[in-house]
Each structure stands twice: as C-alpha cells, then as structure tokens.
Amino acid sequence: MKIVILGLGAVGKGILETIAEKKLGLIVTGVADSKSACIKEDGIDIRTVLTTKKETGICGNPSLTADDVIATASYDLLVEVTPTDANSGEPAYGYIKRALGRGAHVVTSNKGPVALYFNELQSLAQDKGVQIRYEATVAGAIPILHAMQHDLLGNTITALYGVLNGTCNYILTRMAEEGLSYKQALAEARELGYAEADPTYDVKGIDAGIKLVILANTVFGKNISLDDVEITGIDLLTDDALRLAEHQECTIRLIGEIVPKKDLFRISPRIIPKNHPLVVKGSLNAITISTDMAGELTFIGKGAGSIETASAILGDILYIRNEQCMD
C-alpha cells in the first residue's frame, strides 16, 4: 500500500521510523512538513529523509508543499498528523477533504477537523468508497474507538466515563498524593513537559471536551459541537477539596461523561472512590463504558506521546490495508 504523510513532528517521525524498522508492506511515496515536501513515485528513502530533517530542519524540496503532495503524489492513503487548530480545523480539514476527494483513505490524529466536521468528512469518504479513521484523536494509544465501533458491535453502549486528559490527571494525582497546591502541581507538570506554556486548553477541560465531541459524534451517532458539552475544568480546585475527598477514601479526577439516552455530555471534576478503575496515576488515560451485553469495560493506557500516537495511527493504516486485501 502506498501512503503519504503530512506533518513531520514527533508523531510523523515516529510513524516513519516504525515503517523503516518493521516490515509492514507500506511504501511512503511522499512526506511534507510546514516548509517543504518530498515526493517519489516508487517510495522515498525514509532514513535519508529523517536525516535531512534532523540536519536541516526541513524534509525535502522547499518549493514543494503539502498541497503538492496531496494533488500529485501517487498514494492509496493519506496520513494527516499536522498540528491541531481546534477552532478552524485548518489546514488539516482542507488536506483531508482534498485527499478524500481524490479517492484516498485518510488516517488522522488531528482532533480539530474530526471534532468540527466529522459528519461531512464521513459522508464524503462514503461517497468516494474510502475510509477515514481517527483512533489517535481520543486517548492516544488506547484502541477505544475501534473497540466500540467493531469489537462491541451488537452491544448498546449506555454510558461512557473517561479520564481523557493526561495533563489534568497528572496535576490531580500530584495534588492528592503529595499534598501539592494546584499551582505547584501545574508548575511541575510544565517542567516535565506534560503541560503547555499556556495550559488553558488542558486545565479548563477544553481538550477533554473536544475528545468527548469526537466520541459522541463518531460512536454515539450524535451531531454535537463543543458548545453542547457542559465543561468545568480543574483550575479552581483547592488542595483542601482533595483532602476532604481523601477523608472518605475518595479522590478527585476530571471525568468526561456521555449518557447518550439523556443527551448528557459533561466534563467535570468528580469525587471518585480511590479504588475505582478510573483512578489511574500520572498522565495515564482511562475509559469505562457500560454496555448491555458485555457489562462494564475499562481501558487504561497512555493518552499521549509520539510513539503511542504512532501506534494508534499505524493500527488504523494497517486495518484499512487489511480490509482492502479482503475485498
């Protein structure tokens, strides 16, 4: 299968490295970063491209762009791993649309376009007889979308509860375990690279909210936007509150909640027993789903990280490849 990759940050590089290392039967015919691109009909030399990127900061010819890759390269599947813009979804949204328009499958880790335009992109893909997959957009390495869309088919999923933001979970874990104040725990998270310089997106629950929108629209067949999610972040929590929860053998975690029957979509800090399966430590993610047949299932794993995200992306690519082989 021929693929092209847009975006050569940590995730894009992780995917390329894995493809070079493991014999997966994938030929990379084009890559693009924000300043250049590289196209080769019979497959680029991955090692050379990675070395060039490392030494010069760009991956190929500065006169070529991502748009050139989309329009002129020869490929069956486009991997879109450019930075997320949660407000406009661009430029990823345009890239994905044009690739689907060409009749190529798309695999993305980009939350923006999936949260904003899922229904449109999905019907475009259907019209063209191709697939769009986005496992990496929610809970990193945890195959939660695949589990709900494939493995649990036939079940009715009555509720979903999840720890969907590793930064918040890290801060809350440190506040509970070390008695740190919110400010101290946030400063520590920043130093370790778990939190951005501007942590608003994480600590106010927006990132978790976007993931809830993706889950609601892709798995539960809803058509909601971020405005439909009731969001409370963790930035106003006190260390006293964690201690009060502790008195009852409980703690506080930022929980995303979907109850499809009630159209309930909520992100909020919640009191939760310390021995509850959703109480995971550090930057881990966890999701519990309630189903009518399989009962309750809890998934725990790494919600972020370049190799973990690459794992989800490769899973999607190879799923599409294997399905094609069966046709």
């Binding site: 509860y161 409370t232 106003l236 929590l237 006190t238 006293d240 509150a241 201690r243 009060l244 929860a245 008195h247 009852q248 409980c250 506080i252 929980i255 909020s268 800090p269 919640r270 009191i271 939760i272 027993p273 509850h276 959703l278």
Partner: protein
C-alpha cells in the same frame, strides 16, 4: 424508604416464610431478617426483626396485610432517608450566607444536609466544604442536586459531584 420492623409470629414450621411473603407481594425488598427467641415471649411465639425497602405509600397497606394474617407489628422504626450523596463545594461559602445554602436543601422536606466538613484557609481565600446530603428517594436526590447546582451557579461556587451515588 428503609423501614425496620419487629414482628411477632407463631413459632411453628412454615410460619416465618408465610409471615414475610406479604412484603415481596407488595413490592418491598427484604434486606435482612434477624430472629430471636425472646425470653419474655410466650413459648409458641417468635419475635423477628426485619429491615425492608418499600415505597412509602405502601407501608400502610403492608401493616394491614400483617394484621389480616394475625401477625403483630410490635415496633416500626423508619429510616427516613435511604439515599446519601457526598459533594464538595468550593468558594466563598460563609460570606454568601451558608445558612441559606443549607436551607435550600433542608427546606425541601425530602432531602437534608446531615453533615458538613469545612476547611477555611484564610479570610480572603476560598473555603472548601464536604456536604453529606440524605434523601428519601433517588429522584429526590436528583432534585436536591439540581437545587444545589443552581445555588452554586448563583453564588459562584465550584460544585464537585461524585461519580456514583451510594445508598
């Protein structure tokens, strides 16, 4: 509603089961049965304590059924509130009329704040308080919570709800 009852029944085979059957017939749920041979009782009678869960409006009916079957109800103790929920409020709790915040729930008649644990770090800083709410039914708890959400919004509190309620 949770009710504990002390019943006096005839101490002969089969009578205990027969005595308890009206409870499930009426839609009640038996939580526990403790039977004791009371010294003061006459030899052929047995006193049994049962704890049952039953809709409040059916309690009268159950007592009538017991009487019809010759079972004496010696004592009824009601645990009025069978649901409890613990929440945490963060904000300027005292200076926004704490009594009013509590009255909003206590005034409902179907739910009460029965316990409070508060931390007040400094005068200008926000306090944190854990409140225990008890209610008659699950639906009452949902209503009480709805009231508390509104109060929190109006007074600028952060309300932290539990993920699951306990009963």
């Amino acid at each position: 509603m949770q009710v504990s009852m002390k019943l006096e029944i005839r101490d002969s085979p089969g009578h205990l089961v027969a005595a308890l059957s009206p409870i499930s017939d009426i839609g009640g749920n038996i939580k526990t049965v403790i039977h004791e041979h009371d010294q003061e009782n006459e030899e052929d009678s047995l006193s049994v304590e049962v704890v049952i869960e039953i809709p409040q409006e059916r309690l009268e009916n159950l007592i009538t059924l017991f009487k019809e079957r010759g079972i004496h109800v010696l004592k009824i103790g009601q645990e009025r509130f069978s649901y409890r929920l613990s929440v945490i409020l963060i904000g300027h709790l005292v200076h926004t009329d704490l009594a009013d915040t509590i009255d909003q729930i206590d005034g409902t008649g179907y739910a009460e704040i029965t316990h409070m644990n508060m931390a007040m770090p400094a005068i200008e800083e926000r306090s944190s308080a854990q409140l225990m709410i008890r209610s008659v039914t699950r639906q009452d708890m949902e209503h009480a919570l709805e009231i508390l959400r509104k109060v929190a919004e109006k007074k600028g509190f952060l309300l932290i709800e539990p993920l699951e309620e306990t009963r």
